[in-house]
């Protein structure tokens, strides 16, 4: 071992972190090398100097404690109470993201397929036109709050009614059809925007989710006072706003065959495909299931990224 090697190891030698071999080699070199011994001594004193020097504590700068207190206060507040300042911004961002993301691929499959499919959509269209013509001033009056309410309430409805309808196929449908005709007025103008905004609100996880579907619809009926009286609604089903989204198997069945089956959820769908009933009405049923798939699948795809993107926001 030469002096250069030795000096490189002296620091570690002082701290006792050399391997046994290294340590023995250093010690052997030190035994006959005077200058390296001096170097070791100087290095030791340097280290001691640093240690002694560092024991003295400095005075805190002015304002340190105040700054610390406010930082600790901020840290003490639980995350959900620190949230509000972010929430509005986050919510706004979510809506923007939802609109831009869904604008790409949501409307096209829905509108195309549903138009091909159902005459009810045509009815809806004409209905909307009529509504637009008739109570136009009322609509204008009611518009600002209605749009606002859309953001708050309608979003959840899209999801709610979708599943709700599947569970209670017959009765709620009629009510809904009647009461929600009002929505069509709004949507004839701003369907996409409202839906997407609604879904944005929906993804925020707030709003009236806990309310059941019927309450929800009743509420919406109230939001648009003086709207269409029920009897003017041309069809039970040609109807709601997100009409495209609600053409479930049950609905289609209801129109074509009077199927009283109130089987829950997916079993109904399976029956559609399995039972001979379904066979007799191939066109309608195939379309309806197809539709449902086309509706459910993008809905999932569309919701997924939002729910996953939620947690990191705060």
């Amino acid at each position: 071992m030469n002096c250069n090697n030795c000096r490189e190891m002296l620091s570690s030698y002082i701290d006792g972190v050399l391997t046994t071999t290294e340590r023995l080699a250093v010690e052997k070199h030190l035994r006959w090398c005077d200058s390296c011994r001096q170097e070791l001594d100087a290095l030791r004193r340097t280290v001691d100097l640093l240690k002694n020097w560092s024991e003295e504590e400095m005075e805190l700068p002015a304002g340190f404690s105040e700054g610390l207190r406010s930082k600790l206060e901020a840290a003490r507040r639980p995350w959900y109470r620190r949230l509000p300042q972010w929430l509005s911004l986050a919510a706004a961002l979510m809506i923007v993201v939802a609109v831009t993301a869904s604008a790409g691929y949501l409307p096209s499959p829905f509108q195309l397929r549903s138009r091909q499919d159902a005459s009810m959509l045509f009815q809806e269209k004409t209905e909307q036109v009529r509504i637009m013509e008739a109570p136009a001033p009322m609509v204008m009056e009611g518009e600002p709050p209605a749009i606002y309410n859309d953001l708050e309430n309608k979003g959840p409805v899209t999801e709610k009614t979708f599943s709700e309808e599947r569970r209670q196929p017959v009765q709620p449908l009629k009510e809904q059809g009647v009461k929600t005709t009002g929505q069509a007025v709004l949507n004839s103008d701003a369907r996409e925007t409202i839906y997407q905004a609604g879904s944005g609100a929906n993804s925020r996880g707030q709003g009236a989710n806990p309310a059941n579907g019927q309450d929800q619809q009743a509420g919406e009926g109230e939001q648009l006072p003086g709207q269409k009286p029920p009897e003017e609604a041309p069809g039970d089903n040609g109807h709601n706003v997100e009409g495209e989204f609600f053409i479930t198997g049950e609905q289609a069945e209801e129109e074509t065959t009077v199927s009283p089956s109130i089987t829950p959820d997916n079993e109904t769908d399976k029956k559609d495909q399995d039972t001979p009933d379904a066979g007799t009405l191939p066109a309608v049923n195939i379309n309806s299931t197809e539709l449902q798939q086309s509706l459910t699948v993008p809905e999932k795809v569309y919701e997924e990224p939002e729910t996953t993107s939620l947690p990191p926001l705060p």
Binding site: S11, L50, F64, G67, L72
Partner: protein
């Protein structure tokens, strides 16, 4: 004096008063270490505050693996490491080139050669001198030498904080110490070390 353990336990149960006592006990230590790392009061104050906030937030996860003080030393080291990485400091000494070293030292107001004994004789100046020497090191060397010789962390702990190998810690520490040794203890080392020792109340030579 209430032992740290008890104060920590009380703090973990939400006793803010207990945590305040811990803060008062260690805030100066943290500030001083941060000042050695970062070189100026502003950054050091921010770092010490940040360390205490981090300690508060992570208190539930502290299970007494080490002493509370050591735990704080780790936190302040991490905070200062992040701060050093974030802000590129003023020009510092590269230990690779002697010439560069000399030039930089003059720039930071330190004689390239050994200080005169008169300089060192004055205690405050001695303090300042060591501080400036440490600031003259590049961050990677400065961090190692502070963590080892000022904070007293082990080689393994330093390697963990810096995310580097044990060998890197050893070689960096060796070079940083040699640099400090060269400027603290030279041919006139007897005066220098003696005076600093005396001024620090040490045992002398």
């Amino acid at each position: 004096m209430i032992p740290d353990d008890e104060l920590v336990a009380r703090s973990q149960k939400g006793d803010m008063e207990a945590f305040t006592l811990l803060v008062e006990r260690y805030q100066k230590m943290l500030y001083t270490v941060a000042y050695r790392f970062l070189g100026n009061p502003e950054d050091a104050g921010d770092a010490a505050q940040e360390a205490l906030v981090r300690a508060y937030k992570n208190l539930p996860g502290f299970r007494g693996q080490c002493s509370f003080k050591t735990w704080l030393q780790h936190i302040i080291a991490n905070v200062c490491r992040d701060a050093l990485r974030r802000i590129s400091r003023r020009p510092t000494v590269s230990l690779d080139g002697m010439q560069e070293k000399e030039g930089e030292l003059r720039k930071t107001g330190i004689r390239g050669d050994a200080p005169s004994p008169e300089e060192i004789f004055l205690a405050r100046e001695g303090e300042e001198y060591i501080h400036n020497l440490i600031q003259a090191l590049t961050p990677e060397y400065r961090m190692v030498v502070i963590m080892r010789d000022i904070q007293g962390l082990s080689y393994d702990e330093i390697a963990a904080v810096l995310g580097c190998s044990l060998g890197t810690v050893k070689s960096r520490l060796s070079r940083a110490r040699q640099f400090l040794r060269k400027h603290l203890i030279t041919g006139r080392e007897h005066y220098a070390t003696q005076s600093v020792y005396i001024s620090k109340g040490g045992e002398g030579l």
